[in-house]
Point group: C2
Chain length 286, copies 2
């Protein structure tokens, strides 16, 4: 178009993507372009602000690596990730929560029950769970992809002192839908504080950098909606101020001492009791 004005620029930009052959992709792009234009107009974005925004995105790109996604962190600290998680959480099913930047494909398979403790320092605990359908029936053979941080607050990818694949595994639920993971109690940790997401947005807003301690899980089963979620610790200091908006009440569990001398022995604990977090996962149908 030769005579673009403020009155026709948004329509021209949206229309320019009308040729995208995939209808869904076309919708995603066209609605995004409209929102971008509406945003610029609503705030009357100046050139200096536009350049500052581009500079910010460059810095986000510069610090990102295949192992560290600052874009993902940006999505997390703006609540966008949680918005998507909640959009796809069906009433009655376990709600979704942040995937986070530390999930990596190819986690090693373990037998169920699994023991991930190894040489890790920290409080030895059990996660005892069941995977259920919406009617409460057990889902046998569901895949569970599990990862968490170590006692120093770091995931194995962040910490060369940890062995490869430390504190992560995949396993399948038993015939009664159950799985058990012997592990250490995760600890609160900070989101990366050396990048633009924290330094230029979160910190200037006076927000904290801490996330309450949590397990990460992806639970999947054919015919059901894959659940990406987290399990939080009811006693955590940061439960009310998670830097990435991940906490939902249904995902908060409490460790309780259970009488289980066999498990205590397996975990190398002195007494007849073991601290157990019980949290079941209910999957919506696909």
């Amino acid at each position: 178009m030769k005579n673009l004005t403020l009155d026709n620029i948004t329509a021209a930009a949206v229309d320019s993507f009308a040729g995208l052959p995939d209808a869904r992709r076309r919708e995603l792009v066209q609605v995004l372009v409209r929102h971008l234009h509406d945003y610029a107009r609503e705030v009357r974005l100046s050139h200096a602000e536009w350049r500052a925004a581009l500079g910010f995105l460059h810095r986000v790109g510069d610090i990102s690596t295949p192992e560290r996604s600052e874009f993902s962190l940006l999505s997390d600290v703006t609540g966008l990730s949680s918005q998507v998680d909640l959009l796809w959480s069906q009433a009655g099913a376990t709600p979704g929560s942040n995937l986070g930047p530390f999930h990596a494909a190819g986690s090693p398979w373990r037998d169920n029950p699994a023991d991930l403790i190894g040489d890790n320092a920290g409080t030895r605990v059990l996660l005892r769970s069941r995977v259920l359908d919406m009617q409460g029936q057990p889902l046998a053979g569901a895949e569970v992809d599990f990862w968490q941080n170590a006692a120093d607050g770091l995931y194995w990818q962040q910490d060369p002192r940890q062995p490869t694949d430390n504190l992560r595994c995949r396993l399948r639920t038993a015939a009664d839908g159950s799985f058990e993971i012997a592990t250490i109690r995760p600890v609160p940790y900070q989101i990366p504080t050396d990048g633009p997401a924290y330094l230029e947005l979160v910190q200037p807003a006076g927000r904290g950098s801490w996330r309450p301690a949590h397990y990460h899980l992806i639970v999947s089963m054919p015919g059901h909606r894959t659940l990406v979620t987290e399990v939080f610790d009811a006693e955590d200091t940061y439960l009310e101020r998670d830097a990435v908006f991940g906490v939902r009440e249904a995902l908060v569990g409490r460790y309780a001492d259970e009488h289980d001398p066999a498990a205590a022995q397996r975990l190398g604990l002195p007494g007849p009791t073991v601290p157990v977090m019980r949290m079941d996962f209910r999957l919506a149908q696909a």
Copy 2:
């Protein structure tokens, strides 16, 4: 917040930036967060789509360098840059147009009139302009930052065969507000076609990659709004389908042969005439 739901997540995310001390920055961030959330909800963004979008942004970051801003290109091909340009174009003043990715600070100062032809191949022409205020009065000593591509379609930063600073300069307008640049007629060129902005958005939409030939200028004068704009060639093939929405009718000029034996001699042209593009720039008050 402990119990985040689809009903409160957007408000929680917006509120989390209430502590940004600078009011304007707070507005920019909070309105953007709201639009991002509204977008995700409006299109019901899936996790796979969200991950695909993050992957796209990673690829945009990966191909970007200090000399090549794929984020800027993305802003251009979605019309966002033009939206900002038009937002700040005041009625009666020369409209703004794309800064583009090839502006770099520190262009060498030249005397006015300037001759940038050097060893460049191409059609030798003159750009004869005046910088005026809104009342049509000349603005003497206004700063003009000028850059364009060479006969091969490339800017000097893209092309190691061109000398440093080829076809760019800064100069000041004369007492009558005039400036003159002897140069070569710019040629149409393609936006970068090896990055995600083109390969994943523009090309799949069946849009072209070409920009009509143009000069880039930034005209600035204390007390006046800085004008970032372009000047287009009325005879250009791509005037109606600029890949980045830069064309406005007021910025389209036509080369006309002017009788000027002295200038013809300076430019090394055989006849008594010189092809001249005349385009004045009218600056709004700050």
